[in-house]
């Protein structure tokens, strides 16, 4: 049997269909609609060490000049580029002219301080089809270097929104097929 009461549970809403494809830009774009993200509620992170695991699986299409792609995990209202970035990947060179190649991203978001001047700490990874992200760039760990917690207002009823940008200029797009938020404790 399980060891104790800090059981892991999956947070609703539970995805039941692909979310719409998102056209990328040079600014951050939310990959998941707010309707697919659990609203955590004010003071959800109610003790130091509480953590959430975010896992996603999706696809990406690149044009002829995608430039670099970068993950940014936001604590905010879920809209594009809204809120505070709590974790980022490096700027990763995307391979041009790839169609619907798969990727998987997993991060853990852990509370390091509570309240209005609380702090969240993000660690994770992005694995992608080597067609779009060269093997020399993988593993793409989040952050790329020098992890640090980020001060945010944990009394706000915010969401954890995974977002992505690219530095290029062509028709890049990403689509999420599966997303899971798990409360770890």
């Amino acid at each position: 049997m399980a060891d104790g009461l800090f059981y892991v549970d999956t947070r609703a809403p539970h995805i039941s269909g692909d979310v719409p494809s998102v056209t990328l830009a040079v600014t951050n774009k939310a990959l998941i609609p707010v309707a697919n993200i659990p609203v955590l509620g004010s003071n959800y992170f109610s003790w130091v060490g509480k953590a959430i695991r975010l896992t996603m699986f999706g696809r990406i299409t690149t044009g002829t000049t995608p430039g670099n792609g970068q993950w940014n995990i936001y604590w905010g209202n879920g809209a594009d580029a809204n809120g505070t970035i709590i974790g980022s990947s490096g700027a990763l060179a995307l391979t041009a002219s790839q169609t619907n190649v798969s990727w998987r991203m997993e991060t853990i978001i852990r509370c390091r301080a509570l309240g209005a001047t609380g702090a969240l700490f993000v660690t994770g990874e992005w694995r992608a089809n080597v067609g779009v992200l060269a093997t020399s760039l993988q593993p793409a760990l989040i952050p790329a270097a020098t992890p640090a917690s980020v001060t945010v207002d944990l009394t706000a009823a915010s969401v954890i929104s995974p977002q992505f940008l690219r530095s290029g200029s062509t028709g890049e797009a990403m689509q999420v097929h599966d997303v899971m938020y798990e409360s770890l404790n």
Binding site: M1, F6, W47, A51, T123, E125, T146, N185
Partner: protein, 179 residues
Amino acid sequence: MADGLFYVDHRMPFISADAASVTLAPTNKAIIPIANLPILGSNYFNYVGKALRIRIHGRYINGATPGLILYSLVFGSGADNVGTTLASVNTTGIVNIASRMWLLECVVRCRSMGSSGSLFTSGLLFLAGTGQFGFPDATPSAVTVDLTAANTVITFQANRSGSTAESMQVHDVLYEALN
């Protein structure tokens, strides 16, 4: 709703700050302080198939001659160079690295119980700038350990064959009982 009673739960203690940086040596150094590890207790693995999932995220810094870096998961007291290695990866260290990330994800599963019990480890080790490794990187096999021993932990240890100022630091630790 959940399927049954074999729910996954997160083992305390829950890390809330970076662990202290550890300077590597030619012998194994524990990268995680015991205070950040769940004490499993005697006969924690009390049925065949019981498993723990372990995820550890950290960074490494290498000097000019790191030599080979050996990453090991060790069942023991948690002290430096004490215990039985459950799985390892040995790889050439990149020279002169100021800060690169690594990530270990693995499952440790009981295959037999008691004083001559055995644990089987399978997972992946990601080393930024180096690549992805199966964990262990070759010949997975169950390792015989005394599962009746008390105050044991499963810790991450590392050493280097070189001679310069290599170090590692852990930022996040997660131990989940899978059943």
